[in-house]
Amino acid sequence: MSRTCMGLSYNLLCFLVGLGLGVLTETAAWRLGLWRYESRVTPILNVVVMFGLVHGLVLAGVVGAHRHSAIGIPLLFMNGVFIGVGYEALNQFKLGAWTWGDRSLLGIRRPVDKAATVGVAWGAAPVITFLIAKALLNR
């Protein structure tokens, strides 16, 4: 994809859309009390590294930039889940960088179930980023 949107390349656009999606997600989670961070730096790293770089630039940008976009959406989703579940497992069993709030998440209350659900939900991040970035390019 060589076209640009407001002078931004497709890859940079994916990075920025990923950042935007990350800010929205973290803000909503904070307002709803879904999870709590142990350090104030972690949500910033989460938005920049996970949403912007990994799911935005690498997955939606690089992996998503091939001809077969209709076939490629399951590919983006499974890559997002693969990285997301690994990331949630790393936090759940090793890092403890964030803990789950008392509120239920779609009726789910156990921390390990929340980690699995959010791990799968990560799959939506590169797909949404890819679709928004592509729509912006096609305007």
């Binding site: 091939h66 076939i71 590919l75 499974m78 890559n79 693969f82 069993f93 179930d113």
Partner: protein, 160 residues
């Protein structure tokens, strides 16, 4: 007592890593390679030289392009099974058997397609990277899913 003996934490960890990292990781890697390089493609699909190979290329791509969604299902349920197995949660057996049943289905449909289209014996493919990758995937999926289902079925977590 028997259950306690059969549940080995070390084998559980290895099994969880296979479910959470190896299966979904290799599936993701395969599809990234498929979409961005020629490594997994048979020679007739890269350079269709005749009408027969053009027809075969259409059949091949028609078949292969149907796989990302079912593969995504297997990769996702496998990753979730691995997470639950690390947590010692009974849902590991549910998602693991679900995922490995899917993996066996994918292995068999792929193998049967290769047999019907004579891909295993076609002279132009024998010894090539694409066929070697294909055979390795078929063997790993077939025996890996059998081992995984056997282990999860006998796992004490299933009986909780």
């Amino acid at each position: 007592m028997l259950d306690a003996k059969r549940r080995s934490p070390t084998v559980d960890r290895v099994h969880a890593i296979l479910l959470m990292a190896a299966i979904p990781g290799l599936i993701c890697l395969y599809w990234i390679t498929y979409f961005s390089t020629d490594l997994t493609l048979p020679t007739f699909a890269i350079h269709p030289a005749s009408l027969t190979s053009t027809n075969l290329t259409s059949i091949y791509f028609g078949f292969e392009n149907a796989f990302p969604a079912p593969d995504a299902f297997v990769a996702i349920t496998s990753a979730v099974a691995g997470l639950y197995l690390l947590a010692g949660d009974p849902k590991a057996a549910l998602f693991g058997i679900y995922s490995n049943g899917g993996l066996m289905f994918l292995a068999l449909i792929d193998m049967y397609f290769n047999i019907l289209e004579h891909f295993y014996t076609r002279k132009s493919l024998v010894g090539g990277d694409a066929l070697n990758i294909e055979i390795t995937i078929n063997i790993v999926c077939f025996f890996g899913s059998l081992w995984s289902v056997w282990r999860l079925w006998g796992h004490p977590l299933r009986k909780i």
